[in-house]
Symmetry: C3
Subunit: 467 residues, 3 copies
């Protein structure tokens, strides 16, 4: 039942040799680099019994695995099901959304294990990995999934792999600057993941601006069931966000606190999102785009401060504000960005990640600057901000300043990096589709016969299968 569905496809989207080549060569490179560099950390190595004795641990339960593995699995679900299904809202791009997200994340976590390993887990020429590295690799890839949201439907899988390669690299450099050089706290990644990832993606999509994109406008919307698929993504992101923000916090109270703050922030965010979604629509009806996205802004906006003593009511305030900002963004900013700044942001990551990420960075800086020994306790204060060694003399207000600097660095890295990578992706060799074929799975996927015609065929046996 071949129909000339993609007439006028001027561009060469033929993937047969290019995609396999990139995938296979890069996987071979991963194998070689892992072979040279990556080994098990002490807690995953068979020498653990000796390690336990050395560290005076009395039980296997002290293995970091048991502190972090449940959170790791939740984060894993967020990256693959959360981001993957959130983007299935487009009526004819569900395969691409969930499938390309799968591809880029699977490559990205390998490369992130290496990049982050060189910066943070390098020891005697080897990268020693454990469950925390897996979480961090997932986090790093999360920033790529965010950027993917801006260019969803407009790029080839090769472009996505190329972007992943560069973005993971830049992410790791930026993260190193923030966490190690500026000694900034950012456990839930408001700055390193969301601000960086979103502005990177927005810059890339600006460079890749497509003036004729309205040619595929009919495919930029959702259908009833695609909106329900997207809600699967939304809910898993929303439910597991407490795990995201607490996954790499310090053992004990810090993980516990991060989860509570995030839980509160997200709950508040849902109410203000619903309120503004209804308020900003002439007929007062709720818009699934807002519910699918803006309800998550509360998780982004406490990413930096969740492990601090933000307090539950502080979290409610941050969540409430970010839900409002995000929903307003969908109604007013996204059209403005597209028409005036030529930023075509398919999923509205500016509203879900960029602005809430900035809020998160600022809230983190303020919360850090406002910290006192009274609130944290003497020991808790030092532990919370890691004011040890060369940082022994840092005061909260200085820490707040460095936190603010972290936002600026992340923005600069995102703009510069996004411009360069956008330029690379603009090269006419990567196989992206023409404007009229954007948001259409048929370009890169074998798509089954349409439900419509199937139904036709199945229930009207008198009539021929192909009209």
């Amino acid at each position: 039942m071949e129909r000339p569905r993609h007439q006028g496809m001027a561009k060469n989207t033929y993937m047969r040799w290019r995609l396999p080549l990139v995938c296979l060569l890069w996987e071979v490179a991963m194998i070689v680099l892992f072979g040279v560099f990556v080994r098990f950390g002490a807690e995953a190595d068979a020498h653990w019994e000796e390690e336990k004795r050395e560290m005076n641990l009395t039980s296997d339960i002290e293995n970091d695995f048991y502190f972090r593995y449940p959170s790791f699995q939740d984060v894993h679900v967020m990256i693959f099901v959360g981001f993957g299904f959130l983007m299935t809202f487009l009526k004819r791009y569900g395969f691409g959304a969930v499938g390309f997200n799968f591809l880029l994340a699977a490559f990205g976590i390998q490369w992130a294990l290496l990049m982050q390993g060189w910066f943070h887990s390098f020891n005697n020429g080897k990268i020693l990995i454990g469950v925390e590295n897996l979480i961090n690799a997932d986090f790093c890839v999360g920033s790529v999934c965010i950027a993917f949201g801006a260019i969803l439907g407009k790029t080839s899988p090769i472009q996505l792999l190329v972007m992943t390669l560069f973005q993971v690299t830049l992410f790791s450099v930026n993260e190193y600057i923030l966490l190690n050089l500026l000694h900034v706290k950012d456990a839930g990644g408001s700055m390193t993941i969301h601000t960086f990832g979103a502005y990177f993606g927005l810059t890339v999509t600006r460079v890749l601006y497509r003036p004729n994109l309205e040619q595929s406008k009919d495919k930029q919307g959702s259908v009833y069931h695609s909106d329900l698929f997207a809600m699967i993504g939304t809910l898993y992101l929303w439910m597991y966000w407490p795990s995201f923000n607490s996954a790499i916090s310090d053992h004990g109270d810090a993980q516990h606190r991060s989860a509570i703050n995030t839980y509160c922030s997200l709950a508040a965010c849902v109410l203000t999102t619903m309120a503004f979604s209804s308020m900003l629509q002439k007929k007062g009806k709720l818009d699934m785009v807002h519910i699918q996205n803006a309800t998550l802004a509360g998780g982004v906006a406490v990413g930096t401060s969740a492990e601090m003593m933000l307090t539950p009511y502080g979290s409610l305030i941050v969540g409430s504000i970010s839900g409002i900002v995000s929903t307003v963004g969908y109604v007013y900013f996204t059209p403005f960005l597209e028409s005036r700044l030529h930023i075509q942001d398919t999923c509205g990551i500016h509203n879900l990640h960029a602005m809430p990420g900035l809020i998160g960075g600022i809230v983190g800086a303020i919360t850090a600057a406002a910290a006192t020994e009274d609130v944290y306790g003497k020991e808790g204060f030092i532990k919370a901000f890691d004011f040890t060694g060369v940082y022994q003399t840092r005061t909260p207000s200085i820490q707040g300043g460095f936190q603010a600097a972290g936002i600026v660095v992340s923005l600069l890295m995102a703009f510069a990096g996004g411009a360069i990578v956008g330029g690379i992706l603009k090269l006419p060799i990567w196989g992206d589709a023409a404007a009229e074929n954007c948001f259409e799975d048929g370009v890169y996927w074998e798509v089954p016969e349409d439900e419509e015609s199937d139904a036709y065929h199945m229930h009207n046996p008198d009539k021929p299968a192909s009209p």
Copy 2:
């Protein structure tokens, strides 16, 4: 492509100012109340290092977070994905099912943290919260999700928020009476969550009886894919129910035992549900309504007794019976309730929660009354029923009596509360839809163009987009 789809909409369902007002005012109230009352408990506070010393804890792993957080996340999934998707079975009410469930639960958990906090975690004028409070808030909201099932498709989002406000309040009072005054055990909430929630919802839907509901009968069914979406909800509820029933049990054997009992009960329930679903249908075919719902009755019915020494075979028996009762309920009771008692129960919560909840309460009372020091061990006996302090002299048979009293109290609270709240919801100011517009997302949601016409438009480029 505006079509006059909702002609004859006599009622004013315009939400533009009412819904935002309620959402925003209530969220502000939450912020104020949280600001006055809610603080981190000792295990989530930055003073934890001092607390650890005081309590002689040698490791961060002793933080309650690590005992309960994995179960908390499972419960969270049950509330938001489980209940949300279970109710997407209606062909044109998927947005409302998953979206309104999201809204009411997000508000409800905040209000529950306060209400339950005042009763159970109030200390020196502050509510001190930790992971157990989050679980309990989710539990409390679970009872609202249950009641939502009875009125699904027939109420406005404002009505749902109003109901949530009152039901969470009444839930907390009832829970306080049962757990604190009657000293009843009910870790999985057969009485506090299911019996109370279901009879409350059934009373509300009775008060809100709509004589002309058959006008929207064509929308009360499912379509093929909406039934599959509902199965996502079913399976997550089914799989994570062992976490639900064990989440707030005592550390150690009690959590372990609850999970095993629930696992066994649910497994048995699936078989008897399938058996009766086929047996009660003339053609012997299985009915998705039963599979989606009655398979879960086994989890409800061991809610009280799961942490007791019910034993695995006891669990199989309880699960088997509840699957039968629930399936029979769908076939015979639901039509009877509707036609004779004017109880319109959209999701059949009478079969899934009310009757199995009663079974659960009774099984709990019997299991408690039958407890012996021989079976539990001397220490285990005291620990399992908390027979300390003023309860030191309670015997199993007295405990059984109090357990039974707990069922009666829950029922009375549900009927009285449901009648009052139903009366409030009947006021003509909340924006509910006319009978012919029930079960239709278009009333409160921006609904995308139909798949049908999209398909048409996309694959027949010769014809115009709008017929």
Copy 3:
């Protein structure tokens, strides 16, 4: 709206008395056997306080529950949502896929608790169960879900229950031979679960060969949204596979290591699958069948070796190869098996489980044979392979030999068992459908009106509901 959809249904698929009878009788048998044999293990029994003292445990956190429960829940999701939804790809067999999987797994876990209990947890005439037994029961049922994949759409629910009864029995015998008699390591079940389950299922489907199956060819494909439902299954299997392979490994480093190895293997597998999916298709487009299935081969292929010192780069190599083998299998082997060997393998389990399972067994044998005290540490070496007691003198190379023997035993058990069970299932009493009614939910399920005609009915109010 009754239409004679299933004309020519020569076979008697009437389930009304047969299915209920089997379900109820078997459930009664389970209750009796559980009553006689199954009790709580020490860690789930109310005597736990005494047990703790006896074992010198200082904290409830030492209860095995906290080491394994999060992994258990992940495995549970894999069995019910993972396998269930993976098989919903067929356009008109979603109810059967997810519903029959639910049925057989719910029965299977009960029977597996008994069978495995008699072999492994039998003590003084009682089977003492804990969380590890629940995991093992899920694992055992996993092998039945795999076999179900081969015969999906072609069998009645009674046939599936009969197969489950026998396969669980044979699985337990085979597992006992491997783990206890041969003293083989197979924590993730490459041999016991995948190799055994897949070749068993392939043998059964061979015996049940249907020469006229092309009569239902139009229903053997997917539709757009059924492919997205299947991706839910794929992703949950993919994401939680690290939990699967580590769930019953030794506490501490072994669980930690298994998770890391599996994470790496699966990531690599995605890239090679995408590469070969595009490469082997003339137009270079990706095929959802490959993405849904072959991406998982990496988890299967490290099932035996994940808890060994396979190393991260070793895992990447194994994952890469298995992705290639599996994708090549879908393109070339499946058609060959069907046309030449008359093996009709609906889901392609030969590619996803059989071949990768063999790879997994071989990789395990090699990794074991290559083990040295240098790599594992003296203690770690003994602990990893349990070289204690009568196995004190085993060398790595002997262990490798026994591992290889385990593959052979699993294959023989699968072929012999599959042939016998296939013969039993061929009896004309189980109510399977005629060839032209295969892959059609309407045979065993009440199926809602079609979306097509609903849409028609709802949006064209002028026309009558039933054409």
